[in-house]
């Protein structure tokens, strides 16, 4: 006899998989997590201003480090590569959604910073060891996929504050990753070439 016709399986299949707790457990979970967080080195409840400031600092620091480390040994190469890569990379820079309720102001400066970082990233990534490079590329792809998904969901629920914040933090994460790669690759180049 077919297993699916077994009355025992039929009864088991009728059991509800989800059950309601007798009370909302989230406040206690949140309290425990908050207690953990206080012990952590970096507070996980960093506010948006802190995140924005951190992103700006990362961008500036990355640019300064890149400039000073590379200007002695790679100036000409960088100039040549930049010309070449800017021609190659700009058309394929993945479009990230930048306009949604209440956050239109991020658009222009974000796109400019991102385009600059992405062009640098396209060159610097070549200098990384294959394993590191594969991980970085996967992380960048994940972030960009997340941004697309959040943006698509935000189009359906434009007033959802969580989705808006997720999109902002995803932008920041992408910039952070690009900056980290640029700094990491610059350090690698300095260690081998200088």
């Amino acid at each position: 006899m077919n297993q699916s016709r077994d009355p025992l399986d039929t009864l088991l299949a009728e059991l509800p998989r989800q059950l309601e707790p007798s009370r909302d457990l989230w406040p206690e979970i949140k309290a425990q997590i908050a207690a953990d967080t206080q012990q952590a080195r970096t507070p996980l409840h960093a506010q948006r201003w802190f995140q924005l400031a951190a992103a700006v600092v990362l961008v500036v620091a990355s640019s300064v480090i890149t400039f000073f480390v590379l200007q002695h040994s790679m100036q000409q190469q960088v100039a040549d590569a930049r010309r070449e890569m800017s021609q190659q990379m700009q058309p394929v820079l993945p479009t990230m959604p930048v306009r949604f309720d209440g956050h239109e102001g991020l658009g222009k400066s974000y796109e400019e910073a991102r385009a600059q970082l992405d062009a640098e990233y396209a060159k610097r990534i070549q200098n990384l060891p294959p394993i590191v490079r594969a991980k970085v590329e996967r992380d960048i792809a994940d972030v960009r996929r997340s941004a697309r998904e959040i943006s698509a969901t935000l189009a359906q629920y434009p007033s959802d504050p969580l989705l808006q914040d997720l999109l902002v933090s995803t932008y920041q994460r992408e910039i952070q990753l690009l900056s980290e790669v640029n700094s990491m690759a610059a350090s690698t180049a300095a260690g081998t070439d200088l």
Binding site: M1, D6, P7, L8, D9, L11, L12, E14, L15, P16, R17, Q18, L19, E20, P21, S22, R23, D24, L25, W26, E28, I29, K30, Q32, I33, D36, P43, L44, H45, A46, D142, V143, S146, E149, I150, A152, T153, Q156, Y157, D160, L162, L163, D165, L166, S169, T170, R173
Partner: protein, 202 residues
């Protein structure tokens, strides 16, 4: 349906359903507590169902659910996305249930039923308010399931109710696959007897 469940249902229905666990997990990894709360809202019901059927005691099951999500938060960085987030949570939940049982010294094979008060408290409100969930057949099945010996019950719950394979169940429970199959056979046989269902030829 109690007030809390009505409120939860209302909150859940207002939440975007199409955002994936992967995106929420990624945001939670970056410290976004609201993303993690949404993961909790999406998955806690199923985790509780699993814990309650394994422990048979609501208070302990809810403690396990809490610890599951706290532990999940602590270990989000270790979640690589190879399995579904819900599956990963269930593994943590099973581990919590087993640890809790060991700590309480209650992991004893062969106790046919929990204390009557626990049993009544745990399963009187087990339905989700729908006619199907609250039907007499479902309640009879819940009680028959609760009456199984611990080892068989764990395997039946994980495999027959939540759909995990023998290999997955064996790994979750830390037992051999052969033991898992034997416990499932035993559990199903006992369920048939207690529900008055005919024995089927394989």
């Amino acid at each position: 349906m109690n007030l809390h469940s009505q409120a939860s249902d209302a909150a859940r229905s207002a939440e975007p359903a199409s955002i994936s666990d992967a995106v929420l997990v990624e945001a939670a990894r970056r410290g976004d507590m609201r993303a993690f709360e949404r993961l909790y809202r999406l998955h806690s019901g199923k985790v509780l169902g699993l814990c309650l059927r394994m422990t048979r005691q609501r208070e302990i099951a809810e403690d396990c659910v809490q610890q599951t999500f706290v532990r999940a938060w602590r270990n989000l960085a270790a979640f690589e996305g190879r399995s579904a987030f819900g599956t990963w949570l269930h593994r943590i939940a099973v581990n919590e249930v087993l640890t809790n049982a060991r700590n309480r010294g209650t992991r004893t094979e062969g106790s046919p039923l929990p204390a009557r008060d626990d049993d009544e408290d745990a399963f009187d409100n087990i339905g989700d308010g729908t006619a199907a969930a609250d039907s007499a057949e479902v309640m009879d099945m819940e009680k028959a399931l609760a009456s199984l010996p611990t080892g068989s019950r764990h395997v039946v719950v994980l495999q027959a109710v939540y759909g995990y394979s023998h290999e997955e169940v064996a790994e979750m429970l830390g037992i051999a696959v052969g033991t898992c199959k034997a416990q499932l056979h035993r559990g199903r046989k006992l369920l048939r007897e207690r529900l008055g269902l005919p024995e089927l030829e394989s």
